[in-house]
């Protein structure tokens, strides 16, 4: 098994774990962490594709993309955390209890 | 295409713009509102008259605007459409006068007159539309603009009636929509009169075109109140009298009947419709509705409800006339569009006058009313005799043509239906006439007519007298050129000779 295949498979597994977590867990923080895991999977996938057949060096484009992606993901996660904290302050709730 | 003319558009604008302007008025601006109403109504009659004269001398009027590819808004004048437009614009003028008197001091008059004008716009639009899609646009527009009139009183009963009305009409409209889109998908854009399109496609797509015919027919049947789609009509009688008179006796139900005429004569063509046995199905439903409506009418004690069931029955005369092939029945059907309108509007005016002046809404309360309101009940009596088919009132002419045509076509069962229906008509109208003229009033309310006073307000009285006289004269002078019958015969000659 080649290196990039290991990365690719890992990225898929991470993505699926994260996605399952987002849908299945109820707790705010768990959900937010799950999105971060999804993000890690995606970024790993990008990085694993940086090694391309025709190139003797790593393709720079995915790395540029990943940096941008991480910035976006961090911002989203920070925003989500801020929201969760504010909800906790206002109501004392820390998870989606009533599904509506 | 031919030259564009803005005249058909102007005919629509003559009621559309006053309607919108009235909506923006304040409630107390009585003079302005009355002016706008009458101006619009008179302008419309004048325009229709002008165009009619132009049409007779060979002018063509077309207005075409593309909304989207294949979706063309087309107004086009032909004899049948003008016939219907003339009917609705003339009766609009009369009903507007009546409504001004009727709603004196009522609530929300702006809203009433605004939507009333929009309704008339829609029904003239239906008359003038040149293709299937334009017809559909106005057909739906009519549904929407009638709704506020049905719920006008705002009572729980009115609101409930509005709900029933909507379920029927929106449901019908949706089925019609499906049918119309289907027609466009199979046959492309269809202008009225281009029967050759369907004729050339019928052998290739027999199933599709059959389904589409019945979809469109069902959509139209709702407004034409053909059994089992008639349920909205009696319920809607909760609306004010002018609405029942113009819309539920003339504009709305006629829109459905007119649509059926268009569908059979101008879209599918008589040949195809007969060959595919569409007409026999229509005939069975129409015949059943005629009898059913009359029987139901017998049992109504509410004056307007009895009239409503009578409408259910009478409108199907038109459908039945269309369904029996032959020039005579077709002439009868088309002339009945006008005759039935004149007679039924007279009856609704009369019912409204009685309710407005004495508060009587039940037939059992009508004893001796003829002595107190001789002119109103006189007009009613003429119309009732017409409905029964007594010569020389208008209704006789239509029934004569329909019956004669049925004999000619060999459909003797239809003749039986007509005879049975006439007997039933007599059975439910004559008691009213009898009570009005020959029964002693129940209560001691013998308010003697003081000399020099009218039996009710002039604005309520004049319209009923005018339409009563018209019902009589259009029957008496049916042979004269320019009478509804003569025009109907010309229209039919076109369909059968072309």
């Amino acid at each position: 098994m080649e290196t990039y295949q290991i990365y690719s498979i890992t990225s898929g597994v991470l993505f699926v774990i994260g996605m399952g977590g987002v849908f299945l867990s109820k707790h705010f923080i768990k959900k937010i962490i799950a999105t971060i895991i999804m993000g890690s999977g995606v970024f790993l996938a990008f990085v694993s594709f940086a090694e391309r057949d025709a190139l003797s060096f790593a393709d720079p484009v995915p790395q540029a993309l990943v940096i941008t992606g991480i910035v976006v993901a961090v911002a989203s996660a920070a925003f989500a955390l801020a929201l969760a904290r504010r909800i906790y302050q206002l109501t004392g709730e820390e998870s989606f209890t009533i599904e509506k | 295409m031919e030259t564009t003319s803005f005249l058909p558009l102007l005919i629509l604008i003559s009621s559309l713009v006053p309607g919108i302007m009235i909506l923006l008025l304040r409630e107390e601006q009585f003079a302005m509102r009355t002016f706008l109403n009458l101006f619009g109504a008179v302008a419309k009659v004048a325009l229709v008259g002008w165009v009619f004269a132009g049409y007779l001398s060979g002018e063509e009027y077309n207005f075409i605007f593309r909304l989207a590819p294949d979706l063309t808004f087309a107004l086009r004048l032909d004899a049948l459409g003008l016939f219907f437009a003339a009917l609705s614009s003339a009766l609009w003028l009369i009903t507007t006068l009546y409504a001004i008197g009727y709603l004196e001091g009522g609530l929300h008059r702006n809203r009433f007159f605004a939507f009333f004008s929009l309704c008339v716009t829609a029904s003239t639009g239906i008359a003038l539309s040149g293709n299937v899609i334009t017809f559909f646009i106005f057909y739906e527009f009519l549904t929407l603009s009638t709704y506020p009139l049905v719920v006008h009183k705002g009572t729980d009963e009115a609101v409930a009636a509005g709900r029933t009305y909507l379920w029927y009409t929106i449901g019908g409209g949706t089925i019609l929509f499906l049918g119309v889109v289907g027609l466009y998908a199979v046959a492309g854009p269809i202008y009225f009169g281009q029967t050759e399109i369907i004729a050339s496609l019928i052998s290739e797509y027999p199933t599709q075109l059959t389904i589409l015919f019945f979809l469109v027919l069902a959509g139209l049947g709702v407004k034409a109140a053909i059994f089992p789609l008639h349920g909205w009509l009696p319920v809607s009688m909760v609306a004010p009298a002018p609405v029942s008179a113009l819309l539920h006796a003339v504009a709305v139900v006629k829109a459905g009947a007119f649509g059926i005429v268009r569908l059979v004569y101008d879209v599918y063509g008589i040949g195809v419709a007969e060959e595919m046995n569409f007409l026999s199905v229509l005939a069975v439903f129409a015949a059943f509705t005629i009898i059913y409506g009359s029987v139901r009418a017998l049992y109504q004690n509410d004056f307007k409800k009895r009239l409503a069931y009578s409408t259910v029955s009478q409108i199907s005369y038109i459908a039945l006339g269309v369904a029996i092939p032959g020039a005579l029945t077709s002439t009868g059907a088309i002339v009945h569009l006008v005759h039935q309108g004149l007679m039924k509007i007279t009856m609704f005016f009369a019912a409204g006058n009685v309710a407005e002046t004495y508060g009587h809404k039940k037939i059992s309360e009508l004893n001796g009313i003829g002595r107190r309101m001789p002119l109103t009940m006189g007009a009613f009596t003429i119309a009732a005799f017409g409905m029964i088919g007594v010569p020389p009132v208008a209704g006789f002419i239509s029934k004569w043509y329909l019956g004669l045509g049925a004999v000619e076509a060999g459909s003797y069962w239809v003749v039986l239906v007509f005879l049975a229906s006439s007997a039933l008509n007599a059975a439910y109208f004559l008691p009213i006439v009898y009570r009005a003229w020959f029964c002693e009033p129940d209560h001691e309310v013998v308010e003697r007519l003081r000399s020099g006073r009218l039996e009710t307000q002039a604005l309520l009285l004049i319209p009923v007298v005018v339409t009563g006289i018209l019902s009589l004269t259009s029957g008496l002078f049916a042979a004269v050129t320019g009478s509804p019958l003569s025009i109907a015969r010309e229209i039919i000659e076109k369909f059968y000779l072309l």
């Binding site: 690719s8 484009v61 995915p62 989203s76 969760a84 909800i87 | 909304l67 409209g173 499906l178």
Partner: protein, 511 residues
Amino acid sequence: MTGLPTSPLPALLVGFPILLAILTLFFRPGVKALVGLAGCLLTALLAFIAFVEVTQRGTVIHTPGGWDPPLGILLRMDALAAVFIGMTALVGGFISLYAWRYLRAQDPATGGYPLFWPLWLFLWAGLNGLFLSNDLFNLFVTIEVISICAVALAVLSGKAGALKAGLRYLLAAITGSMAYLFGVALLYGSTGTLDLDHLGQVLEPGTTTTFALLVVTLGLLIKMAGFPFHFWLPPAHSNALAPVSALLSALVVKGAFYILLRLWMEVFGVGITYAAGQLIGLAGAIAVIWGSWQAFMQTSLKLLVAHSSVAQLGYLLMIFPLLILPPGVTADSADWLSVTWTGGVYQVISHAIAKASFFLSAGIVIMAVGHDRIESLRDLVGNMRITSMAIGLAGVSLIGLPPSGGFVGKWMLLKGILLSGQWWWAPVVVAGSLLTAGYVFMLLRLAFAPAREKEPFRPVPKTLEVVALLLAVSSFLIVFPADYLIQFLENSEIFGSGIEAVLKGGFYGND
């Protein structure tokens, strides 16, 4: 991308609102609103200029800084982008006017939610950027900007209900983005390009492509609240402030639809399977029925309108199955294809206008009576004539009755359905219309009914009522330029190569 005329307008459409958004941050609250409003109106004006530019010159492009792809970013404004940008400007302009007056009346103490303006301008920049983007990653970045601004706007009131709905919205949005980005990674891995045009040419069918298609579509479906991922939309849209609800329903969800349309028509045009299309159509059909039924069952006005959005988005999903022929079938002409996709775009516009008007009117009613139970509509006609008219007109357009814009959209959709031979979608369209009529007329019935108890209608600024009515009237007036718009889209031949591929049955077709 050579040979296309360049123009600075695409860059301005993105840059100008961003600059203004930053600028508003420096003013104190009262002035902020004024600067923000002025900025919104200027942005709208700019968008109209750009629209005219495209109608005159055809597709225009811009490469910021002169850097060509793949390192630089190419902004491409074709007919489709121009139509969406124009729609955003029209609806956004009206909503900005409304927001200016509404927010001041709602919260006079702090100068009316001053943060609304920078967030809305950023959102607008994001939307314009999305419509102009021509590569997969750029689309990702813009849709993230949109999502974050949209959530921030949705929680602007700071109430617990709004915050919870906002968090749910944000989590759904992140999940959607990640799924989309995963698909982008796969596509880049197998082709080495992100450029939409290039990708459309080099994309080969295969397991990777199919999988990428699935995750990208899944992500975008989550973002546009397609059934069964619609759960986040009703709470988020109904808990937001009225102008924000209007923005979210009218414009924001359309961003994801835009990407989906572009990808399916331009990129996956050859690699898509019949079954996937049918599945999306099924999701749309269920959304139409389920959303309308839910809307019918609501007792709260804004929740009703929000559920109606779920249903209306379902109609948009139903165009996807029509873009694919069943396996083994080829067609000579593509008459239903252009009807379908231009009809879909037209449906987007008419829904945006009607729904914005609906939400703005709901905001007015709530402001007047103080709560949003549907019962509060009783005797609305007697008390607020203008708003009643607005609700009536917008509702009629949503049902799709003539002569409204919604009618033209439904007409084209239904015609596409019948022409393509996939007649089984037709009953859904019809049933959806009936259910929509059910809830719209339920509102109108109450509006005409007499008041049970005399609840006072508080006076509401006239500006608000007039703006809502103008939007409602616009949803009818757009019938007039319909022919022009549809021709404009058709003649642009944006999806030329895609259509040919569909006619040949696609990759999976004729075996």
